[in-house]
Symmetry: C2
Subunit: 430 residues, 2 copies
Amino acid sequence: MTEPLKVAVAGLGTVGGGVIRLLRQQSDLIRRRCGRAIELVAVSALEPPPDLAAELAGVPWFGDAVTMAQDAAADVVVELIGGAHGVALRMCETALEHGRHVVTANKAMLAHHGTALAERAESRGLSLGFEAAVAGGIPVIKALREGLAGNRILEIHGILNGTCNYILSRMRREGLEFEAALADAQRLGYAEADPTFDIDGIDAAHKLAILASVAFGGPVRLVPDNVEGIRHVTAIDIKYAEQLGYRIKLLGITRRSGALFEQRVHPCLVPIETPIAAVEDVFNAVIIVGDFVDRVVLVGRGAGANPTASAVVADLVDIAAGRHAPTFGVAVADLDPIEPAPLSARVGAYYVRLMVRDEVGVLASVAGALAAGGVSIAQFFQDRHDPGEKVPVVLTTHATDEASMRRALDLITGLGPVMEPPRLIRIEPF
Amino acid sequence: MTEPLKVAVAGLGTVGGGVIRLLRQQSDLIRRRCGRAIELVAVSALEPPPDLAAELAGVPWFGDAVTMAQDAAADVVVELIGGAHGVALRMCETALEHGRHVVTANKAMLAHHGTALAERAESRGLSLGFEAAVAGGIPVIKALREGLAGNRILEIHGILNGTCNYILSRMRREGLEFEAALADAQRLGYAEADPTFDIDGIDAAHKLAILASVAFGGPVRLVPDNVEGIRHVTAIDIKYAEQLGYRIKLLGITRRSGALFEQRVHPCLVPIETPIAAVEDVFNAVIIVGDFVDRVVLVGRGAGANPTASAVVADLVDIAAGRHAPTFGVAVADLDPIEPAPLSARVGAYYVRLMVRDEVGVLASVAGALAAGGVSIAQFFQDRHDPGEKVPVVLTTHATDEASMRRALDLITGLGPVMEPPRLIRIEPF
């Protein structure tokens, strides 16, 4: 039997606690699966959490994570502190400099510094594991990097943020407005007190950038211009989408598009019969399209102490068993930067909702503006309304490029009877 | 750059052709992902297929696969011949004896000889890869053995045979009877001329035995008494199931059940809103439940040249990159045999359809027989019928053990007005 793999864990919040408990509870199982034990040799947190007292008895404790990364007698350091640029990053850099593997759940750090960290790990022959950074317990990084290694990846799309999916699911089922659903999600612990990262799509964009890098073998790259969250999704749009046979989901989408690649996060209308439309509440889903395998759908819990701990420990088991893969699927020197396409280059169908004054000729003007923009209408309806109220007008388009769509919307916005800025949501057929 | 990984392929049918084409087409990509090339150094088939002439030009050809396994200068032998006990097995044994890794898509061979082959591979420090043997392109073996390695697996259930799922999907959508749907599947190449292995559940049982072994860390074990195919599924049962909110799917199910484990293949009614009910046509699905990760759903193409080639090549890439995992998740000496539970021990709900003569008291007798058997009725309805015809009576039960259910069915079968043997289908709520 080989020596135990010695692990130091920094950050003892929800996920850290899950990892500590998993390692303790499944120690026999892990030993059988790795051929060696995984041993906790140090932890770091601002304060030792009282509920982990039993598990942490006798384990050396560091107040400073960077000091731990430097001094603890660990083969691997697990980073569960969070934050893109601060102590988490310094700790990972320090661990790698001292010849220790790193396992992290930190998507923000990887989205900003992933390539540099990968280079640092690679130059020392170390692993940088990050299964837990994307889609929680779903082993999507392993599937992509190893399980589908024979494929040229053509596209990935997915529900990458459980908070948003929970909010949208509640809005649809109960007819709630965004603010009410968010408040409930916060009350239940599914959304943070400051929910910005989740609801503005930033968290999903971090994960998508990582997935795109692994899928296409390029440096990790954020494309912040192509990110839109769910703040502006309304109950009425969810209702109309459903009438038209769609559900609204916040999706991350990345695909090859000629010499460029698309990488965007925004709410989408997806046909109700697609597998992704059925993924509700806090569940995540990732759909990978490869040239040989065709379409693979992965669904599971995208967050939470236990599913995320499952992903962290999978990386530890790989290290313990001596299994190694290049961080983003290929050697850093082989990463091939390709340019992201601007959102204006998107070609696809659109959902548009207007609120208009009910007067003679308004529909003709709207239709005229779309025609002038070169946009072809697929469906068009005006909802019932009481006299004198604003009238909702809903339409979907045939496939058009986003630049034309925006020109048409500018024309529509300028029409006298159009009383609110038009609501535009992209339709993805999949 | 390391030396190329030298690969010999035996069996040049559909999947073999896919593997040869993939290796050729993606050679650059594979080289970047493994850090070395994968080189085809020998092939074996009864006759060299003319459509692969370009890809096979200059590649040494063996008429006998066992001779190739012995003599070809290969690091890995890929077995795509098929058949549980014949030349495929002898070739794999020979390859391992000669220090060559084996990659195979042969579920029948693994179901019968998997443990012995794993032992032979392990004793020589070789890999025995079989991602392609279960669920085609879906990287489920990797997910289970590595991606979820921190979990105690509680349950796996899935649609493991695309032929059956295609037939059931066509029957449901078009109201076809089994024979008509099978004939169409054969015409379209989705079913073999002799479809026995698929439609009688044997193929699914082979795959389930492999999954159970990896999930629970036990020797591979077929439980033939617990296997039932789809020959007896009728259009009318599919229709009634739908009326009750269910779809009929052929499922493989394995779960821990006290000191025993369940391992069974049979048609099931599954609630229409579960993800598995939405998996249609030739797609496969595997749902894994782990104690930390909770539920992970994997869906993709379970057969076909390209998806299966994707899985074969994933195993080759792992070998090329030096990644190794124990065949069934743990060392052979650590495999822990647990006993399969008999089907009579199943506890769950049931769907029953009877055809009765419409006469006074018949429903009372049926209800009485169920009560006498200790079975509690959940739903009960009698369909409309023309006078004088046989009357369909459909019922579902609350959870009961299968032994009680069978006792009640025996009583019902003996009732005078019951004109056909009752149809029993198990309900799985998931």
